[in-house]
C-alpha cells in the first residue's frame, strides 16, 4: 500500500468553545489534506487561518478545552493505519437552550485519556514536531544535549546513555551547530534563536520519525537566520526525504521546500495543488485569495510587474461568525454580478480544476 | 488568680519549746515508702531557691527542698525545724537559736554531704541582705540589726527594735554556705538557683527538657525519710488542659483546682477534692483620694449594692464564706459579731442620696454636675475567668443603682505601677494572702501611704492608726483581741474596702495519695508525711 498517502485528513473540524461568549470558535472548519511519503506539503495562509491548529489537531496537542474535534485523520506508519480521531464526541455533552448551546461540558479526563492512548506510540516516534519561537520551546532548566538524548532514548534502540549521547552529538552535527560538544552542555538561554531552532530540529529528527510537522519553524527568528534554517531544512529534506507538513506564512520558505501547497483561509483550504502552480502568480485558474496573497509578498517579481505591492484588503473573517457563503466573499475583488448571489449565500466546493489542483471558488465552478 | 499581692506579717509565738527529736533515716510509722507523685503547675518556676524566687510555683518547690529555723504548722503554731529550741531575751531584742546537730545538706553531685551549721544561717541572712542580691525578702528582714554565731550550733539575732511575733520571721529558708558560687550575693545567673541543695525532705534531681522538675526523697532527712519516692512538678500553660491531664492520669495532683472544674472532679470517684483554708480574702479596694470615694457613705452604698452571696454561689459553687472585716476569717482576730453587710439596693441608693448624688439625665447618679463614674482596674492574666466574672458582676450591680464603672484591664506590671505607685485608679479588685491574719497595720495605717506601700487606697483614720499601734504594743493576748475586734468593727463600718469573701481552696488529687495535708500558704510543708499504698505504687 505504498500508494496510499502517509497522512490523510478528511474534513477536519476543530472548534473551541468560548464560555464567556457561549459560542464555538471555529478555528478549523472542514480541512481536507493528504501527505504522501517523502512529500513536503506546505500550508500557507494569514495568521488565524487555522494552520497551526490543524497541525496540533493532528498530534492531539490541542490543549485549550473545552473544544470539539471531528472528522477523520488517517495516519499510515509501518504498514499500520491509525485513525487519529477516534469518536471523541462521546466525551462532549452539549446543553442547548432555545436552539443555542448554552453550555458545553466536556469530560476532559476521558477525552485526554483517549487521545493519549492513541498518540502515545506515535508522538515523537512517528510524528515529530518543530515549533515556532524555539527559545521557549526548549526546557529552560535542562541542557540542550540532554533534551535531545531524551528523545533518542525514548524512541530509538540506542542502548545506554553513552550511545544515546553519541547519537545526540551526531544529530547536533547534522543540524550544523558549531562545536556541538560545547553546545551539548549549554542551557537554552545560552544559545541564539537560530541555534535553539537547530537543536529543536535535531531533537525532532533524532527519533527518526516518518512525519515531521514544522509549525512556522522560521517565525520569531531574524531574516538571515530564517534563510539559514530554511536552507538547513532543504538539505535535510534532500538527505532524508521525511514527509513534512510545513506550516508557514513565509511564502518564500514554502516555495523553496514544498512539493505541494495548500492555501488556508478562514479555517479551511481554499486552494491545493503542486507548489509551482499554486505559487505561480499568473497561473490560472486560481483562487482570488491566493492571488492576493502572492501579490502581497515583497518580491522583485511583484515590484517589476506592478511597480508597487498590493495588500489583501479587509480582514480575516471572525472564526466565531463565519459568513454563510464564500468565506472570502467580503474581501474578494473578482466577484462578478452573475455569481455574486452564489458567492454571498452558498459556500463553493473544493473542486479539482486540473489534475491534482483543487480550488474552492465559484469562478472555477464550470 | 495565681498571682496575688502577698502581705507577709507574723504572729505571736509561744516562747520556748523543746520538742522530741526524731532520728534521721526511715520514719518508723509503718507506712509504705515508694511511688511517684506528679503534680501540675500553671506556669513555670523562675528559680528554685528560696531567695531569688518570687512566685507560687517556686514557693512549693522550695518548701520541699529547704527548711527554716522554725516552722509554722496548720494551727499557726511555731514548731522547731532546723533549730531544736530557742530563747528570747527579756527586752525581746535578741533571739538565740540552738540548732540541730544531725542535719546534713543534700550532697552536691560528686561530693560528700556536708553538715548543716550556724555558718549557713549567718551566710543565708548576709546574702539575703546583700544589695546585689535579687530578692523580694529584703524589706521583711530590715528589722534585724545583726547576727552572730555562737559556736557551730548556735546563732543569735539582734533586732533593731523589739517587734511583735519576731519568731515567725525566722521561718525563712536556710541555704548552704557552699551552695552559691558567689560568696557574697545571689543573682539569678547563679547556677545554685537552678540546682539548689537544701536540708529538706526532697532533693532536686533533674530538670527535664520539658521543664519538668524531678525531686527525689532525701534518704537521710532529719525528720525521717519521706514516704513518696519522687515528686515531679509538671508545668502547664493552660488550666483546662491541666485539669484534663489530671483526669487522664497524666498527673496525680493539682494543688489549686480552678473553681469551674470542681463540679467535674466532684463527680469523679477516682479523685479526692480536699478543701484547705487559705488565709486570704478578696475585696474591692477604694482609692479614698478620689473625691467621689472620700465619703464613706458612697463606699458603704457599694457594699450594699453587691449581692456577694449570689456571686459566691453562682460563680464559685458557694465554696467560701463572706467576710465582714479586714481580718481573715478563722483567725482569732476576726470579729464574728460583725455581720457582712446584707444585699440591699434601696439602702445603697438611699445612702448615695444622703451623700448628695441624684440621678442625672442618662440615669447615672451625679453630684453638682459631676457624674459618679469610676474606673476599676484589673490585671490581665491568661487564666482570669474568675476575676472577669466578679468584676463584671460588680459593674452590673452598680449599674443597677446608677453608678457607672469603667473596667480597665492592664498587664500585671502596668497594673501594679498604676495602683501602688501612681495611685491612678478608683477601685481595684484583689485579694490579700496572709501568713498571719492578725496584723493589718500595713494595710490601713496612714504611715503606710506612699509609693509601693500597701495602703494603696490612701485610707487614713487617726482612730484606726491609734488602735493599730496599740494592738502592736500590747503583749497581752486578750487585750489585743478586743482591740482587733474594735478595729474590725470600725473598718467594716468605714468600708475602705468592700470585703467580699474567702474562698475555700481545693486541691484535687488521685485517691491513691494518702494522708495529704496542705498548708494554707506554703502548701507542701507536710509532704514528707504523704504516702502511696504499696498496691498503687505500680
Amino acid at each position: 500500500m505504498t500508494g496510499a498517502p502517509l497522512l490523510e485528513i478528511e474534513n477536519l473540524r476543530t472548534y473551541f468553545y468560548s464560555r464567556s461568549k457561549q459560542v464555538f470558535i471555529r478555528a478549523v472548519d472542514g480541512v481536507t489534506l493528504s501527505i504522501a511519503r517523502g512529500e513536503t506539503l506546505g500550508v500557507v495562509g494569514e495568521s488565524g487561518s487555522g494552520k497551526s491548529v490543524t497541525a496540533l489537531s493532528i498530534t492531539g496537542l490541542v490543549s485549550a478545552g473545552p473544544g470539539v474535534i471531528s472528522g477523520t485523520i488517517a495516519f499510515r506508519a509501518d504498514g499500520v493505519e491509525h485513525n487519529l480521531l477516534p469518536d471523541l464526541d462521546q466525551y462532549v455533552r452539549l446543553k442547548a437552550r432555545d436552539g443555542r448551546i448554552v453550555e458545553v461540558s466536556k469530560d476532559e479526563t476521558g477525552w485526554r485519556k483517549a487521545v493519549e492512548r492513541l498518540m502515545a506510540p506515535l508522538r515523537g516516534k512517528e510524528i515529530a514536531m518543530i515549533f515556532q519561537s524555539p527559545k521557549s520551546a526548549l526546557h529552560p532548566f535542562a541542557r540542550v544535549g540532554d533534551q535531545i538524548t531524551e528523545a533518542i532514548r525514548l524512541h530509538t534502540r540506542a542502548k545506554g546513555p553513552g550511545e544515546a549521547k553519541e547519537r545526540a552529538l551526531h544529530w547536533l552535527e547534522r543540524v550544523k551547530i558549531d562545536s556541538p560538544r560545547l553546545r551539548f552542555d549549554n542551557h537554552p538561554y545560552g544559545l541564539s534563536g537560530g541555534m535553539c531552532q537547530r537543536a529543536v530540529i535535531a531533537m525532532a529528527l533524532a527519533s527518526e520519525p516518518s512525519l515531521l510537522i514544522a509549525d512556522e519553524p522560521t517565525t520569531g527568528l531574524d531574516a538571515t537566520i530564517q534563510s539559514e534554517i530554511v536552507g538547513l531544512l532543504a538539505e535535510l529534506k534532500a538527505e532524508f526525504g521525511i514527509a513534512t507538513l510545513l506550516i508557514s506564512h513565509d511564502i518564500r520558505a514554502i516555495s523553496r521546500l514544498a512539493d505541494n501547497v495548500a492555501v488556508m483561509y478562514g479555517g479551511t483550504v481554499v486552494e491545493h495543488g503542486p507548489a509551482p502552480d499554486v505559487l505561480a502568480p499568473r497561473f490560472a485558474p486560481k483562487h482570488p485569495y491566493t492571488t492576493a496573497l502572492l501579490a502581497s509578498i515583497p518580491s522583485v517579481q511583484n515590484v517589476r510587474d506592478k511597480g508597487y505591492l498590493t495588500v489583501v484588503e479587509g480582514e480575516v473573517p471572525d472564526a466565531v461568525d463565519l459568513p454563510r457563503g464564500c468565506r472570502f466573499y467580503a474581501r474578494c475583488n473578482r466577484v462578478t454580478d452573475d455569481i455574486r448571489d452564489k458567492c454571498a449565500n452558498h459556500e463553493p466546493e473544493l473542486r479539482e480544476v486540473m489534475p491534482g489542483h483543487h480550488v474552492r471558488c465559484w469562478l472555477c465552478a464550470e | 488568680m495565681n498571682k496575688r499581692i502577698v502581705v507577709v506579717l507574723s504572729i505571736l509565738a509561744v516562747v520556748v519549746g523543746t520538742p522530741p527529736v526524731s532520728p534521721a533515716g526511715p520514719k518508723n510509722d509503718g507506712r509504705p515508702d515508694g511511688g511517684t507523685l506528679g503534680y501540675g503547675e500553671y506556669g513555670r518556676p523562675s528559680t528554685l531557691d528560696p531567695i531569688t524566687s518570687n512566685e507560687m510555683v517556686s514557693l512549693r518547690i522550695t518548701e520541699l527542698v529547704f527548711n527554716g529555723l522554725v516552722g509554722i504548722d496548720e494551727k499557726q503554731e511555731i514548731v522547731p525545724e532546723l533549730a531544736e529550741r530557742w530563747e528570747a531575751s527579756k527586752d525581746s531584742r535578741t533571739y538565740t537559736f540552738f540548732l540541730r546537730k544531725d542535719v546534713m545538706w543534700h550532697p552536691k553531685e560528686g561530693e560528700e554531704a556536708k553538715p548543716f551549721t550556724a555558718d549557713d544561717v549567718v551566710f543565708t541572712y548576709k546574702i539575703m541582705m546583700h544589695p546585689k542580691t535579687t530578692t523580694p525578702l529584703k524589706v521583711r528582714y530590715e528589722f534585724i540589726e545583726s547576727v552572730e554565731k555562737l559556736g557551730d550550733y548556735g546563732v543569735q539575732f539582734t533586732l533593731k527594735r523589739p517587734i511583735l511575733n519576731a519568731l515567725a520571721k525566722f521561718s525563712f529558708k536556710v541555704i548552704p554556705k557552699h551552695g552559691p558560687s558567689h560568696p557574697l550575693y545571689l543573682t539569678r545567673e547563679d547556677p545554685f538557683v537552678r540546682h539548689p541543695i537544701g536540708t529538706g525532705p526532697f532533693v532536686v534531681k533533674t530538670i527535664t527538657t520539658d521543664r519538668e522538675i524531678v525531686l527525689v526523697a532525701n534518704e537521710n532527712y532529719f525528720k525521717g525519710r519521706p514516704h513518696i519516692n519522687r515528686f515531679i512538678s509538671k508545668p502547664f500553660a493552660d488550666q483546662n488542659i491541666m485539669t484534663q491531664a489530671l483526669m487522664f492520669n497524666a498527673i496525680d495532683m493539682v494543688v489549686l483546682v480552678n473553681p469551674r472544674d470542681i463540679p467535674e472532679l466532684q463527680g469523679d470517684k477516682r479523685f479526692v477534692l480536699q478543701p484547705y483554708n487559705a488565709l486570704s480574702y478578696a475585696f474591692f479596694g477604694y482609692n479614698v483620694r478620689s473625691p467621689l470615694l472620700a465619703d464613706k457613705r458612697v463606699r458603704q452604698a457599694f457594699a450594699y449594692a453587691v449581692n456577694r452571696q449570689e456571686v459566691l454561689d453562682s460563680f464559685f459553687n458557694g465554696q467560701g464564706t463572706l467576710v465582714s472585716g479586714p481580718f481573715a476569717p478563722g483567725s482569732w482576730a476576726y470579729n464574728l459579731d460583725v455581720r457582712p453587710l446584707p444585699f440591699d439596693p434601696q439602702k445603697a441608693v438611699a445612702l448615695l442620696r444622703q451623700a448628695g448624688f441624684a440621678p442625672g439625665p442618662d440615669g447615672t447618679l451625679q453630684k453638682d454636675g459631676k457624674k459618679l463614674t469610676l474606673s476599676l482596674k484589673v490585671p490581665i492574666e491568661k487564666e482570669s475567668e474568675a476575676v472577669k466574672r466578679v468584676v463584671l458582676a460588680f459593674q452590673n450591680y452598680l449599674k443597677n443603682i446608677g453608678v457607672a464603672i469603667k473596667v480597665e484591664f492592664k498587664e500585671w506590671q502596668a497594673w501594679k505601677e498604676s495602683v501602688f505607685q501612681e495611685h491612678d485608679f478608683d477601685i481595684i479588685f484583689a485579694s490579700w494572702v496572709f501568713d498571719d491574719s492578725a496584723d493589718i497595720s500595713s494595710l490601713f495605717h496612714s504611715a503606710e501611704i506612699g509609693a509601693w506601700k500597701n495602703n494603696f487606697g490612701g485610707y487614713s483614720n487617726p482612730e484606726v492608726d491609734g488602735l493599730i499601734v496599740e494592738s502592736k504594743l500590747t503583749l497581752d493576748h486578750e487585750k489585743r483581741r478586743t482591740i482587733n475586734r474594735k478595729l474590725h468593727t470600725i473598718l467594716a463600718e468605714e468600708a475602705p474596702y468592700t470585703f467580699l469573701w474567702t474562698l475555700t481552696n481545693y486541691s484535687g488529687y488521685h485517691k491513691k495519695l494518702r494522708r495529704v495535708a496542705i498548708h494554707p500558704y506554703k502548701f507542701f510543708s507536710f509532704a514528707d508525711e504523704w504516702f502511696i499504698p504499696a498496691a498503687d505504687q505500680k
Binding site: 474534513n11 473540524r13 472548534y15 468560548s18 464560555r19 464567556s20 461568549k21 457561549q22 459560542v23 464555538f24 471555529r26 472542514g30 470539539v68 471531528s70 472528522g71 464526541d89 452539549l94 442547548a96 436552539g99 443555542r100 448551546i101 471572525d318 466565531v320 461568525d321 463565519l322 454563510r324 | 483546662n240 485539669t243 484534663q244 469551674r260 472544674d261 463540679p263 467535674e264 449570689e310 456571686v311 454561689d313 453562682s314 460563680f315 490581665i380 492574666e381 491568661k382 487564666e383 482570669s384 475567668e385 472577669k388 466574672r389 468584676v391 463584671l392 458582676a393 459593674q395 452590673n396 449599674k399 473596667v407 480597665e408 484591664f409 492592664k410 498587664e411 502596668a414
Partner: protein
C-alpha cells in the same frame, strides 16, 4: 458535524454577555456567598450601633450561666456570665471594625506606595523596597506582636498596627508585580508616549484600573487576618478585653467549658469566625477567577 452546526452562526447576538452570565457558576456562588457575608457583617454592625439586639449584651444572668441554645429565649444560649451570646456576637463586630480598618488602611496605603515606587521607579528604589519587604517578612507576626505587647501594652490598636505593617509586603509585591507585568506589555511606555504625567499613569491607569480588584481582595483577606490574630491573642489573654465582646475573647471564654461538654459558648463565635473568613476568602477567589476569565478571553 451537524451536531455543532446549529450554533455555528449564532455567535452574533450571544457575544459580550455580562460578566455574571459568562462566569463559572461556582465562582458566582463563591462571590455570592462572600457578598452575603459582607452584607451580614455590615448589617450586624448597624444593629450593634443602634443597639437593636435580642437582649442586652451586658445583662448578667446568674441563673443562666452557660445555658444551652434556645433556653429562655437565648437563641444561641448564654456565656459564662449568663449573657446572651447572639447579641454579643452581633456587638462583637464593632471590636474589629475600626481596628481592622486601621490594619487594612496601613497595609494598603503603605503597600501600594512602596509597590508603586518599586515597580515604577525600579532600580535602587526597587532594591530598597525589596529589602524593607524582606525585613518585615522576617518577623513572625504573632511573635512580633508579643514583643510589642511586652514593650508597650496589649492595646488592640497597637496590635492592629503591627498586623497592618506586616501585611505591607504582600500588597507591595502584588502591586509591583502587576506593574512589572504591565511593563512587559509596554503598557507604561505607551502611556508615557501619550504624554500622560506619571502620577496619572500610576494612580489612575495602574492602580485604579489594574490593581483595584486585587486591592479590594487584599482588603477583605486582611480583615480576616485581623480577626484570626485577635482570636489567637484573646487566647493568650492579650486580645480585646472584657466587657467589650470580641469573637476572639468569646471563643476563649467559652472554650473553658469545652471539656465539660458545653460546646456552644465557644462554638458559636468560632463558627462566626469560620464562616466570615471563609466568606472573605471565597469572595476574593471568586472575583479573581472571574476577572481573570474576563481578561483572558
Amino acid at each position: 458535524m451537524t451536531r455543532y452546526s446549529q450554533i455555528a452562526g449564532e455567535g452574533r447576538d450571544a457575544s459580550d454577555l455580562p460578566v455574571w452570565r459568562s462566569a463559572d457558576t461556582l465562582d458566582l456562588a463563591y462571590v455570592g456567598y462572600g457578598l452575603l457575608i459582607v452584607a451580614l457583617v455590615l448589617v450586624s454592625y448597624v444593629l450593634g450601633v443602634f443597639n437593636w439586639l435580642p437582649h442586652d449584651p451586658e445583662q448578667i444572668r446568674f441563673d443562666l450561666l452557660n445555658a444551652p441554645p434556645g433556653s429562655a429565649g437565648h437563641l444561641l444560649g448564654t456565656d459564662f456570665l449568663g449573657r446572651d451570646i447572639l447579641s454579643r456576637l452581633i456587638v462583637a463586630i464593632q471590636a474589629y471594625f475600626l481596628p481592622g480598618l486601621v490594619a487594612i488602611v496601613i497595609s494598603l496605603v503603605v503597600g501600594t506606595t512602596l509597590g508603586a515606587l518599586a515597580g515604577y521607579r525600579g532600580g535602587e528604589v526597587e532594591v530598597l523596597v525589596t529589602y524593607v519587604n524582606n525585613l518585615v517578612d522576617s518577623f513572625p507576626r504573632l511573635v512580633l506582636i508579643l514583643l510589642v505587647i511586652a514593650a508597650f501594652k496589649a492595646d488592640i490598636y497597637y496590635i492592629m498596627v503591627i498586623v497592618g505593617v506586616t501585611g505591607v509586603p504582600v500588597v507591595a509585591s502584588l502591586v509591583a508585580g502587576k506593574i512589572a507585568f504591565l511593563r512587559q506589555k509596554h503598557f507604561i511606555e505607551a502611556a508615557l508616549v501619550l504624554g500622560l504625567p506619571s502620577h496619572v499613569i500610576v494612580l489612575k491607569h495602574i492602580l485604579w484600573y489594574h490593581c483595584g480588584p486585587l486591592l479590594v481582595i487584599r482588603a477583605t483577606i486582611g480583615m480576616g487576618e485581623a480577626i484570626l490574630i485577635e482570636t489567637s491573642l484573646s487566647y493568650l489573654g492579650f486580645g480585646v478585653q472584657e466587657p467589650m465582646p470580641s469573637w476572639g475573647n468569646m471563643v476563649q471564654a467559652g472554650a473553658n467549658y469545652f471539656f465539660q461538654g458545653k460546646f456552644w459558648p465557644s462554638t458559636a463565635p468560632a463558627l462566626a469566625i469560620l464562616l466570615t473568613i471563609l466568606g472573605f476568602h471565597l469572595l476574593g477567589d471568586g472575583l479573581n477567577s472571574i476577572l481573570e476569565d474576563r481578561g483572558g478571553k
